[in-house]
Subunit: 185 residues, 2 copies
Protein backbone atom coordinates (compact mmCIF):
# COMPACT_ATOMS: atom_id res chain seq x y z
CA UNK A 1 0.00 0.00 0.00
CA UNK A 2 1.19 3.52 -0.76
CA UNK A 3 2.76 5.53 1.99
CA UNK A 4 0.51 8.16 3.58
CA UNK A 5 1.82 10.92 5.82
CA UNK A 6 -0.08 13.85 7.31
CA UNK A 7 1.58 17.26 7.57
CA UNK A 8 0.01 19.32 10.34
CA UNK A 9 0.67 23.00 9.73
CA UNK A 10 0.13 25.94 12.05
CA UNK A 11 0.18 24.19 15.42
CA UNK A 12 0.33 26.56 18.40
CA UNK A 13 1.32 24.62 21.52
CA UNK A 14 -1.11 26.21 23.98
CA UNK A 15 -4.11 26.82 21.83
CA UNK A 16 -4.02 23.79 19.57
CA UNK A 17 -2.77 21.03 21.85
CA UNK A 18 -6.01 19.07 21.93
CA UNK A 19 -6.95 19.64 18.32
CA UNK A 20 -3.54 18.57 17.05
CA UNK A 21 -3.70 15.50 19.28
CA UNK A 22 -7.06 14.66 17.72
CA UNK A 23 -5.63 15.14 14.23
CA UNK A 24 -2.72 12.83 15.09
CA UNK A 25 -4.96 10.16 16.65
CA UNK A 26 -7.25 10.27 13.63
CA UNK A 27 -4.28 9.97 11.28
CA UNK A 28 -3.14 6.85 13.15
CA UNK A 29 -6.59 5.28 13.56
CA UNK A 30 -7.54 5.83 9.95
CA UNK A 31 -4.42 4.49 8.29
CA UNK A 32 -1.69 7.12 7.91
CA UNK A 33 1.89 5.96 8.51
CA UNK A 34 2.79 9.03 10.51
CA UNK A 35 2.43 12.75 11.06
CA UNK A 36 4.79 15.67 10.65
CA UNK A 37 4.22 18.58 12.99
CA UNK A 38 5.81 21.18 10.75
CA UNK A 39 7.81 24.26 11.75
CA UNK A 40 7.48 23.72 15.49
CA UNK A 41 8.30 21.25 18.25
CA UNK A 42 5.89 20.30 21.01
CA UNK A 43 7.01 17.57 23.35
CA UNK A 44 3.60 17.22 24.98
CA UNK A 45 2.07 16.12 21.69
CA UNK A 46 5.00 13.81 21.09
CA UNK A 47 4.60 12.17 24.50
CA UNK A 48 0.87 11.71 24.03
CA UNK A 49 1.26 10.08 20.65
CA UNK A 50 4.16 7.89 21.78
CA UNK A 51 2.12 6.69 24.73
CA UNK A 52 -0.82 5.82 22.48
CA UNK A 53 1.45 3.91 20.12
CA UNK A 54 3.15 2.11 23.02
CA UNK A 55 -0.18 0.99 24.45
CA UNK A 56 -2.28 0.49 21.35
CA UNK A 57 0.34 -0.45 18.79
CA UNK A 58 1.89 0.87 15.65
CA UNK A 59 3.78 1.51 13.58
CA UNK A 60 3.05 5.24 13.60
CA UNK A 61 5.63 8.02 13.69
CA UNK A 62 5.60 11.64 14.72
CA UNK A 63 8.22 14.00 13.32
CA UNK A 64 8.50 17.56 14.60
CA UNK A 65 10.08 20.84 13.58
CA UNK A 66 10.67 20.19 9.88
CA UNK A 67 9.88 23.34 7.86
CA UNK A 68 6.78 22.62 5.79
CA UNK A 69 8.52 23.62 2.56
CA UNK A 70 11.34 21.18 3.21
CA UNK A 71 8.88 18.39 4.01
CA UNK A 72 6.99 19.03 0.77
CA UNK A 73 10.23 19.16 -1.28
CA UNK A 74 11.51 15.93 0.24
CA UNK A 75 8.21 14.21 -0.42
CA UNK A 76 8.15 15.27 -4.06
CA UNK A 77 11.80 14.34 -4.59
CA UNK A 78 10.87 10.86 -3.41
CA UNK A 79 8.16 10.63 -6.04
CA UNK A 80 5.14 11.39 -3.85
CA UNK A 81 2.19 13.68 -4.43
CA UNK A 82 0.76 16.37 -2.16
CA UNK A 83 -2.93 16.62 -1.31
CA UNK A 84 -4.14 19.75 0.47
CA UNK A 85 -7.41 19.41 2.34
CA UNK A 86 -9.29 22.68 2.04
CA UNK A 87 -12.92 23.75 1.76
CA UNK A 88 -11.91 25.72 -1.36
CA UNK A 89 -10.74 22.68 -3.33
CA UNK A 90 -12.42 20.20 -5.63
CA UNK A 91 -15.34 18.51 -3.91
CA UNK A 92 -14.51 14.89 -3.11
CA UNK A 93 -18.14 13.88 -3.67
CA UNK A 94 -19.10 15.80 -6.80
CA UNK A 95 -15.80 15.80 -8.73
CA UNK A 96 -13.49 13.02 -9.89
CA UNK A 97 -10.59 14.24 -7.76
CA UNK A 98 -10.35 11.12 -5.58
CA UNK A 99 -10.26 8.94 -8.66
CA UNK A 100 -7.37 11.00 -10.06
CA UNK A 101 -5.47 10.80 -6.78
CA UNK A 102 -5.90 7.03 -6.65
CA UNK A 103 -4.88 6.71 -10.30
CA UNK A 104 -1.56 8.40 -9.51
CA UNK A 105 -0.66 5.34 -7.41
CA UNK A 106 1.88 7.34 -5.42
CA UNK A 107 2.59 8.08 -1.82
CA UNK A 108 0.41 10.88 -0.48
CA UNK A 109 1.44 13.74 1.79
CA UNK A 110 -1.77 15.24 3.20
CA UNK A 111 -1.59 18.90 4.19
CA UNK A 112 -3.97 19.40 7.09
CA UNK A 113 -3.82 23.05 7.96
CA UNK A 114 -6.11 25.50 9.62
CA UNK A 115 -7.93 28.56 8.35
CA UNK A 116 -4.82 30.64 7.79
CA UNK A 117 -2.50 28.41 5.81
CA UNK A 118 0.10 30.08 3.56
CA UNK A 119 -1.39 31.09 0.22
CA UNK A 120 1.16 28.87 -1.52
CA UNK A 121 -0.62 25.78 -0.18
CA UNK A 122 -3.34 26.41 -2.76
CA UNK A 123 -0.91 26.70 -5.68
CA UNK A 124 0.02 23.87 -7.98
CA UNK A 125 3.69 24.34 -7.05
CA UNK A 126 2.90 22.96 -3.60
CA UNK A 127 -0.32 20.97 -3.84
CA UNK A 128 -0.95 18.54 -6.66
CA UNK A 129 -4.55 18.37 -5.52
CA UNK A 130 -6.71 20.69 -3.43
CA UNK A 131 -9.51 18.55 -2.04
CA UNK A 132 -12.67 19.69 -0.25
CA UNK A 133 -14.54 17.33 2.05
CA UNK A 134 -17.54 19.46 1.20
CA UNK A 135 -17.18 23.16 0.40
CA UNK A 136 -18.28 24.33 3.83
CA UNK A 137 -16.48 25.62 6.92
CA UNK A 138 -15.23 22.52 8.55
CA UNK A 139 -12.68 20.84 10.73
CA UNK A 140 -9.29 19.63 9.58
CA UNK A 141 -9.74 16.66 11.87
CA UNK A 142 -13.05 15.70 10.24
CA UNK A 143 -11.71 16.34 6.73
CA UNK A 144 -8.68 14.19 7.35
CA UNK A 145 -10.81 11.35 8.71
CA UNK A 146 -13.22 11.33 5.77
CA UNK A 147 -10.40 11.64 3.24
CA UNK A 148 -8.51 8.68 4.71
CA UNK A 149 -11.67 6.60 5.01
CA UNK A 150 -12.54 7.18 1.37
CA UNK A 151 -8.98 6.96 0.04
CA UNK A 152 -8.36 3.66 1.80
CA UNK A 153 -11.94 2.49 1.21
CA UNK A 154 -12.48 1.80 4.89
CA UNK A 155 -9.77 -0.85 5.09
CA UNK A 156 -7.83 0.92 7.81
CA UNK A 157 -10.71 0.52 10.26
CA UNK A 158 -10.33 -3.24 10.13
CA UNK A 159 -6.58 -3.24 10.55
CA UNK A 160 -4.59 -4.70 13.45
CA UNK A 161 -1.76 -2.74 15.03
CA UNK A 162 1.58 -4.32 15.89
CA UNK A 163 2.94 -4.78 19.40
CA UNK A 164 -0.19 -3.51 21.11
CA UNK A 165 -0.36 -3.91 24.89
CA UNK A 166 -4.07 -3.26 24.84
CA UNK A 167 -6.74 -4.20 22.38
CA UNK A 168 -10.45 -3.44 22.37
CA UNK A 169 -12.81 -6.35 21.83
CA UNK A 170 -15.82 -4.75 20.12
CA UNK A 171 -19.07 -5.06 22.07
CA UNK A 172 -22.73 -4.33 21.39
CA UNK A 173 -22.84 -2.73 24.82
CA UNK A 174 -20.28 -2.18 27.55
CA UNK A 175 -16.48 -2.07 27.34
CA UNK A 176 -13.99 -4.88 26.92
CA UNK A 177 -10.23 -4.47 26.75
CA UNK A 178 -7.73 -7.28 26.29
CA UNK A 179 -4.45 -6.52 28.08
CA UNK A 180 -1.47 -8.44 26.90
CA UNK A 181 1.33 -9.72 29.08
CA UNK A 182 3.84 -6.87 29.03
CA UNK A 183 6.74 -9.21 29.71
CA UNK A 184 6.56 -10.31 26.10
CA UNK A 185 7.64 -6.85 24.99
CA UNK B 1 -34.56 11.93 4.94
CA UNK B 2 -34.49 10.94 8.60
CA UNK B 3 -33.67 13.54 11.17
CA UNK B 4 -30.13 13.46 12.53
CA UNK B 5 -29.06 15.33 15.64
CA UNK B 6 -25.72 15.24 17.44
CA UNK B 7 -25.58 15.33 21.23
CA UNK B 8 -22.27 16.70 22.45
CA UNK B 9 -21.65 15.57 25.99
CA UNK B 10 -18.99 16.74 28.43
CA UNK B 11 -18.18 20.15 26.99
CA UNK B 12 -16.03 22.31 29.26
CA UNK B 13 -16.16 25.94 28.08
CA UNK B 14 -12.48 26.80 28.47
CA UNK B 15 -10.81 23.57 27.58
CA UNK B 16 -13.10 22.29 24.85
CA UNK B 17 -14.15 25.45 23.04
CA UNK B 18 -12.29 24.70 19.83
CA UNK B 19 -12.96 20.99 19.78
CA UNK B 20 -16.68 21.45 20.35
CA UNK B 21 -16.73 24.09 17.61
CA UNK B 22 -15.08 21.56 15.28
CA UNK B 23 -17.63 18.92 16.26
CA UNK B 24 -20.48 21.35 15.55
CA UNK B 25 -19.02 22.48 12.20
CA UNK B 26 -18.52 18.86 11.18
CA UNK B 27 -22.08 18.01 12.19
CA UNK B 28 -23.36 20.84 9.99
CA UNK B 29 -21.05 20.22 7.03
CA UNK B 30 -21.72 16.48 6.99
CA UNK B 31 -25.48 16.55 7.17
CA UNK B 32 -26.81 16.68 10.73
CA UNK B 33 -29.84 18.89 11.35
CA UNK B 34 -28.45 20.32 14.55
CA UNK B 35 -26.45 19.80 17.69
CA UNK B 36 -27.38 19.69 21.37
CA UNK B 37 -24.72 20.89 23.77
CA UNK B 38 -26.00 18.92 26.74
CA UNK B 39 -25.93 19.87 30.42
CA UNK B 40 -24.18 23.20 29.90
CA UNK B 41 -24.53 26.54 28.16
CA UNK B 42 -21.73 28.27 26.29
CA UNK B 43 -22.63 31.44 24.44
CA UNK B 44 -19.29 31.63 22.63
CA UNK B 45 -20.01 28.36 20.85
CA UNK B 46 -23.54 29.51 20.12
CA UNK B 47 -22.31 32.77 18.57
CA UNK B 48 -19.72 30.98 16.46
CA UNK B 49 -22.23 28.50 15.08
CA UNK B 50 -24.88 31.14 14.49
CA UNK B 51 -22.38 33.25 12.58
CA UNK B 52 -21.40 30.29 10.40
CA UNK B 53 -25.03 29.51 9.67
CA UNK B 54 -25.80 33.18 8.94
CA UNK B 55 -22.93 33.41 6.46
CA UNK B 56 -22.84 29.94 4.96
CA UNK B 57 -26.47 28.91 5.24
CA UNK B 58 -28.62 26.40 7.03
CA UNK B 59 -30.81 25.17 8.40
CA UNK B 60 -28.75 24.04 11.38
CA UNK B 61 -29.66 24.51 15.03
CA UNK B 62 -27.75 24.57 18.27
CA UNK B 63 -29.57 23.81 21.52
CA UNK B 64 -27.81 24.25 24.86
CA UNK B 65 -28.26 23.21 28.46
CA UNK B 66 -30.67 20.28 28.06
CA UNK B 67 -29.72 17.45 30.44
CA UNK B 68 -28.48 14.55 28.31
CA UNK B 69 -30.92 12.14 29.91
CA UNK B 70 -33.84 14.39 29.04
CA UNK B 71 -32.62 14.77 25.45
CA UNK B 72 -32.33 11.00 25.07
CA UNK B 73 -35.77 10.41 26.60
CA UNK B 74 -37.39 13.02 24.36
CA UNK B 75 -35.72 11.53 21.31
CA UNK B 76 -36.93 8.01 22.11
CA UNK B 77 -40.44 9.18 22.94
CA UNK B 78 -40.54 10.68 19.46
CA UNK B 79 -39.64 7.33 17.92
CA UNK B 80 -35.95 7.92 17.30
CA UNK B 81 -32.95 5.71 17.97
CA UNK B 82 -29.72 6.55 19.79
CA UNK B 83 -26.28 5.80 18.35
CA UNK B 84 -23.28 6.18 20.64
CA UNK B 85 -19.93 6.64 18.91
CA UNK B 86 -17.28 4.88 20.95
CA UNK B 87 -14.09 2.97 20.24
CA UNK B 88 -15.55 0.14 22.37
CA UNK B 89 -18.56 -0.46 20.13
CA UNK B 90 -19.26 -2.60 17.09
CA UNK B 91 -16.81 -1.82 14.32
CA UNK B 92 -18.51 0.04 11.49
CA UNK B 93 -16.28 -1.65 8.92
CA UNK B 94 -16.18 -5.25 10.11
CA UNK B 95 -19.69 -5.67 11.55
CA UNK B 96 -23.16 -5.15 10.09
CA UNK B 97 -24.03 -2.40 12.57
CA UNK B 98 -24.45 0.34 9.96
CA UNK B 99 -26.80 -1.86 7.96
CA UNK B 100 -28.92 -2.44 11.07
CA UNK B 101 -29.02 1.28 11.86
CA UNK B 102 -30.11 2.08 8.30
CA UNK B 103 -32.71 -0.69 8.38
CA UNK B 104 -34.34 0.93 11.42
CA UNK B 105 -35.29 3.89 9.16
CA UNK B 106 -35.65 6.17 12.16
CA UNK B 107 -34.29 9.50 13.27
CA UNK B 108 -30.83 9.17 14.79
CA UNK B 109 -29.50 10.94 17.87
CA UNK B 110 -25.71 10.58 17.79
CA UNK B 111 -23.95 10.69 21.15
CA UNK B 112 -20.52 12.22 20.60
CA UNK B 113 -18.83 12.19 23.95
CA UNK B 114 -15.29 12.22 25.15
CA UNK B 115 -13.20 9.69 27.02
CA UNK B 116 -15.13 9.91 30.27
CA UNK B 117 -18.78 9.59 29.26
CA UNK B 118 -21.21 8.21 31.87
CA UNK B 119 -21.12 4.42 31.99
CA UNK B 120 -24.83 4.39 31.11
CA UNK B 121 -24.02 5.61 27.59
CA UNK B 122 -22.77 2.08 26.83
CA UNK B 123 -25.92 0.38 28.11
CA UNK B 124 -28.85 -0.63 25.95
CA UNK B 125 -31.15 1.52 28.07
CA UNK B 126 -29.50 4.59 26.57
CA UNK B 127 -27.80 3.58 23.34
CA UNK B 128 -29.54 1.37 20.80
CA UNK B 129 -26.21 1.01 19.05
CA UNK B 130 -22.62 1.49 20.18
CA UNK B 131 -20.58 2.12 17.05
CA UNK B 132 -16.80 2.21 16.70
CA UNK B 133 -15.19 4.06 13.82
CA UNK B 134 -12.34 1.63 14.32
CA UNK B 135 -11.55 0.22 17.74
CA UNK B 136 -8.65 2.56 18.39
CA UNK B 137 -8.16 5.73 20.44
CA UNK B 138 -9.63 8.37 18.30
CA UNK B 139 -11.35 11.72 18.03
CA UNK B 140 -15.07 12.29 18.47
CA UNK B 141 -14.83 14.84 15.68
CA UNK B 142 -13.29 12.32 13.27
CA UNK B 143 -15.69 9.58 14.33
CA UNK B 144 -18.70 11.80 13.83
CA UNK B 145 -17.49 12.82 10.37
CA UNK B 146 -16.91 9.27 9.17
CA UNK B 147 -20.19 8.06 10.66
CA UNK B 148 -22.20 10.79 8.93
CA UNK B 149 -20.36 10.30 5.64
CA UNK B 150 -21.09 6.58 5.67
CA UNK B 151 -24.61 6.85 7.04
CA UNK B 152 -25.62 9.42 4.42
CA UNK B 153 -23.50 7.76 1.75
CA UNK B 154 -21.66 10.99 1.00
CA UNK B 155 -24.78 12.83 -0.13
CA UNK B 156 -24.39 15.61 2.41
CA UNK B 157 -21.12 16.75 0.82
CA UNK B 158 -22.97 17.64 -2.36
CA UNK B 159 -25.78 19.48 -0.64
CA UNK B 160 -26.63 23.19 -0.95
CA UNK B 161 -27.39 25.26 2.13
CA UNK B 162 -30.30 27.68 2.27
CA UNK B 163 -29.98 31.46 2.58
CA UNK B 164 -26.20 31.47 2.34
CA UNK B 165 -24.51 34.86 2.01
CA UNK B 166 -21.30 33.19 0.90
CA UNK B 167 -20.65 30.18 -1.22
CA UNK B 168 -17.39 28.53 -2.23
CA UNK B 169 -16.90 27.81 -5.90
CA UNK B 170 -14.64 24.73 -5.88
CA UNK B 171 -11.28 25.26 -7.59
CA UNK B 172 -8.38 23.04 -8.63
CA UNK B 173 -6.09 25.69 -7.16
CA UNK B 174 -6.67 28.99 -5.40
CA UNK B 175 -9.77 30.26 -3.60
CA UNK B 176 -13.05 31.53 -4.99
CA UNK B 177 -15.99 32.76 -2.92
CA UNK B 178 -19.30 33.97 -4.28
CA UNK B 179 -20.80 36.67 -2.07
CA UNK B 180 -24.50 37.23 -2.49
CA UNK B 181 -26.26 40.55 -2.28
CA UNK B 182 -27.16 40.84 1.39
CA UNK B 183 -30.11 43.07 0.65
CA UNK B 184 -32.00 40.01 -0.47
CA UNK B 185 -31.97 38.67 3.03
Amino acid sequence: MSRIVVLRWGHRPQRDARLTTHVALSARALGANGIILSDIEDNRIKETIEEVTRNWGGPFFLEMGTPWRKAVENWKENGGIVVHLTAYGENIETSNVLKRIKAAKKGVLILAGSQKVPKEFYSEHVSDFNVAIGNQPHSECASLAVFLDRFLEGRSLARSFENARMEIIPQKSGKKILKRDESRH
